[in-house]
């Protein structure tokens, strides 16, 4: 049966067909839909973990216990999971173990553009790179076979355009592999120095065997045609190369990109006049090919920064520029991402925006958008969980420099569970008087509404214990008088809490609790709630626009509210000094 699937749907399908039984992951664009889809298949246990390290360790344990297992993450998630990954490279597997990294060339929704192919040689594990949805499915089955055959973790690398593009997939049947028996084997599964030393030799021997396999497997394909130009490529770049050149050049398509098929590459290079390496971001293939002593062209014509597309390749190699067809003098206004209409984060940021002496350390989530004008709250964002710890450092630097001011750290519920808790422990332990604002919107919002340890539901829809953030924070050592729980839709209450927190000299926590405005049940509940402007009372002072709500519209000096966008959160009503905004509906 043929269906159309995204790369992520096909990865889930491939894992299912390969007989996977355990998967654990933390959501992250562009990887999230893999586990969401896998969770729907019978015979598979799939869970959201609080972070990628935990997800990787759960899958590692399941593998040791004999289950075919998988963990998935976005590229930066692998930095978090790198610790277990590198040691599992030594321990190897029992049931097949696949680690999916979905990289984001072009940074559609990421903080950096790291190329995770470099992890495979660093960790000394096998790596596969599919180019389209059919391969996403087929390579997953190959990944589990390689993992068990060579006793290795397999790094399975996609990119945004592979994960989020849809193409036609031929479905297959699930192979029931069951769970392998577990046998205690401390030399394999306890990595103390005495066991690790011989393991390192084994890992090197394993790589030699994997390279032999890479040279002979069907994952790497030579497509010979005219031999004036030979192109070596992998992943989505292969599709772009075929789009531009069709069958007019020879191509070596690399599907197993670590260890590389050295003999195949040498043979292919010897058959073509000019060898070009086409790959996104880092010169991963190019450097390896050059180390083999083979002359090739790569990054001198193909850019390192941002994602590739057929146009860039066409121009770099054929010198063709895109045809300019139509143009207009209409200039489209810039459209930066913004906090949604009715977003509960808005209340806290609005309250904080009134203080000019606050330095705000932000975090990864929708609330990064507190940085956008007119709110302009947030000075720094580094990575998941860094808000509280970076805030601690900012406060310390300010203290040592005798600078006035106050540090506020902003972190969402899911990011707090991910890796914010340890930062808060540190700030309390070392008595750093920062204000931690936990923006608890009861969901992992930005990646598309995933459950988390605070929502009371699991990935597979079962009821779960919901972590009580108040009690957690108190147990870590925040004093009762230094904790405020507020409804960010109530501006007065929120402003009061911000004021008290601003003036305190001790570690302080504000929990701002109101569910995400885009949650299905919230949309349903608030569907009829609207704010409307009373034209007679409106003095056109535009203070409501300072909330940065995109439901408000200023045209020809008149402010109006888009009734299709408004959810009646009343933030604009609460800031209006002339009582010119009314709430209607129930």
């Amino acid at each position: 049966m043929k269906v159309i699937m995204s790369g992520n749907e096909a990865i889930a399908r491939g894992a299912y067909e390969a007989g996977i039984t355990v998967a654990s992951a933390y959501p992250g664009t562009p990887s999230t839909e893999i586990l969401e889809n896998l969770a729907n298949y019978d015979g598979v246990y799939a869970e959201w973990a609080p972070n990628e390290k935990v997800g990787c360790e759960v899958a590692a344990g399941a593998s040791i216990g004999g289950a075919r297992s998988m963990t998935t993450m976005k590229h930066v998630g692998l930095n978090v999971a790198a610790d277990p990954l590198f040691t599992m490279a030594y321990e190897g597997v029992n049931g097949g173990f696949v680690v999916v990294t979905a990289d984001d060339p072009g940074m559609h929704s990421s903080q950096n553009e790291q190329d995770n192919r470099l992890y495979a040689p660093h960790a000394k594990i096998a790596m596969l790179e599919p180019s389209n949805s059919q391969e996403c499915k087929d390579f997953m089955k190959a990944a589990f076979e390689i993992s068990e055959k060579f006793d290795t973790v397999v790094l399975y690398r996609t990119t945004t355009r592979v994960s989020h593009s849809k193409s036609v997939v031929e479905l297959g049947e699930r192979v029931e592999v069951g769970i392998k028996p577990y046998e205690k084997n401390i030399k394999k599964y306890i990595m103390i120095p005495a066991h690790s030393r011989p393991k390192h030799y084994e890992v090197e021997e394993r790589l030699a065997k994997l390279q032999e396999y890479s040279n002979n497997c069907s994952l790497n394909v030579e497509e010979m045609s005219d031999t004036k130009i030979g192109i070596i490529t992998s992943g989505i770049s292969y599709e772009y190369v075929k789009e531009v050149f069709g069958d007019s050049v020879s191509v070596l398509k690399i599907g197993m990109s670590y260890p590389l098929p050295d003999k195949m590459i040498k043979e292919f290079a010897s058959k073509v006049d000019k060898l070009i390496v086409i790959e996104e971001n880092e010169p991963y293939l190019e450097n390896a090919i050059k180390v083999m002593g083979i002359k090739c062209i790569g990054k001198e014509i193909i850019p390192i920064c941002e994602e590739l597309n057929p146009e860039i390749i066409r121009k770099a190699i054929l010198g063709d520029s895109a045809v300019v067809t139509y143009s207009t003098d209409v200039v489209a206004p810039s459209r930066p991402p913004v906090l949604c209409p009715g977003c509960p984060h808005r209340g806290v940021f609005y309250a904080v925006s009134k203080y000019k002496d606050i330095i705000s350390s932000g975090d990864i989530g929708c609330y990064t958008l507190g940085m956008v004008a007119p709110l302009n709250v947030t000075d720094t964002v580094i990575c998941m969980g860094a808000s509280i710890s970076a805030g601690t450092g900012l406060e310390k630097a300010a203290q040592l420099a005798n600078r006035d001011g106050k540090v506020f750290s902003f972190i969402g519920d899911s990011t707090f569970f991910h890796s914010g808790i340890t930062g808060l422990i540190n700030s309390i332990y070392n008595n750093i008087p920062i204000v931690t604002c936990i923006l608890d919107n009861r969901i992992t919002a930005m990646t598309g509404h995933q459950e988390n340890p605070g929502t009371g539901k699991t990935l597979q829809g079962k009821d779960a214990h919901s972590i009580d953030i108040e009690n957690l924070v108190l147990s870590l050592g925040i004093k009762k008088e230094n904790l405020r729980v507020v409804d960010p839709y109530n501006l007065k209450e929120t402003e009061e809490a911000v004021k008290v927190a601003h003036d305190t000299k001790e570690p302080f926590v504000i929990i701002a609790r109101q569910p995400c405005a885009l949650k299905k049940d919230v949309i349903k509940k608030r569907a009829k709630l609207k704010c409307v402007i009373n034209e007679d009372k409106c003095k056109k002072c535009k203070v409501c626009l300072k909330t940065g709500c995109p439901a408000l519209k200023l045209k020809d000096g008149i402010v109006s509210i888009d009734k299709n966008a408004c959810n009646g959160c009343t933030m604009c009503k609460q800031v209006c000094k002339f009582d010119a905004i009314e709430k209607v509906g129930e």
């Binding site: 043929k2 269906v3 159309i4 664009t29 562009p30 559609h108 929704s109 389209n132 945004t160 355009r161 989020h164 593009s165 849809k166 193409s167 036609v168 599709e239 772009y240 075929k242 789009e243 597309n309 057929p310 146009e311 066409r314 895109a322 045809v323 300019v324 067809t325 139509y326 143009s327 207009t328 003098d329 209409v330 200039v331 489209a332 206004p333 810039s334 459209r335 930066p336 991402p337 913004v338 906090l339 949604c340 929708c366 990064t368 958008l369 956008v372 004008a373 007119p374 930005m446 990646t447 598309g448 626009l545 940065g548 995109p550 408000l552 519209k553 200023l554 045209k555 299709n564």
Partner: protein, 192 residues
């Protein structure tokens, strides 16, 4: 000859571009075409400019559309049509929803929303089709169906009205939304 057609959906996060392209790809797949579609999720969703690209033919490699090669651009928001116009192929259709969404820079007065957009688009591209999809959908009972109105116009522009799209809709939208979407599709077909 392997002729590949390319359709570029552009709009603002939350307007339903993804569902429209999903219905389109399902219909094309049923009709025996090779189809690829690319969309971007994540932070770009939140009120940002969004695109979905669909390509179909006998064999499709790249899911991405190159500049100057889109057979049809469907713009869910007026000014977005201007932003993406360079992707349109010579003699291609520019289907435009007669609907404005003001971004924050315009709301706070840092930028201006362009004037007389419809007329200026028409002056630039001969085959510009302005559809009041939001108005039509609202009249039918739900503005959300604007995406399927535009899909109808797109189908006409591509000459794909021989496919049974009502059957595709039945398999792609929730049961209670089927009737509304069928009406929306018919209205969209009439618009060209």
């Amino acid at each position: 000859m392997n002729e590949v057609k390319s359709i570029l959906f552009v709009g603002v996060g939350g307007q339903g571009t993804i569902l429209a392209s999903k219905v389109l790809t399902e219909g094309l797949l049923k009709h025996g075409y090779d189809v690829k579609m690319s969309e971007v999720h994540g932070m770009a969703q939140r009120g940002g400019s969004v695109t979905t690209q669909v390509r179909f033919g006998k064999k499709v490699y790249s899911p991405l559309i190159e500049k100057g090669t889109a057979d049809v651009i469907v713009s869910f928001e007026k000014s977005e049509a201007a932003r993406w116009m360079p992707f349109l192929k010579k003699d291609g259709y520019l289907v435009v929803n007669d609907y404005e969404i003001y971004p924050i820079p315009v709301l706070i007065g840092a930028e201006k929303y362009p004037e007389n957009v419809n007329e200026r688009l028409k002056a630039a591209v001969e085959k510009t089709i302005i559809v009041d999809a939001a108005g039509i959908a609202e009249e039918l009972g739900n503005i959300k169906a604007q995406n399927v109105v535009l899909l109808g116009t797109l189908i006409k522009a591509l000459g794909l009205d021989n496919i049974d799209w009502n059957e595709v809709l039945e398999g792609s939208v929730p049961p209670k939304a089927v009737e509304l979407n069928k009406k929306a599709l018919a209205k969209g077909l009439e618009a060209l």
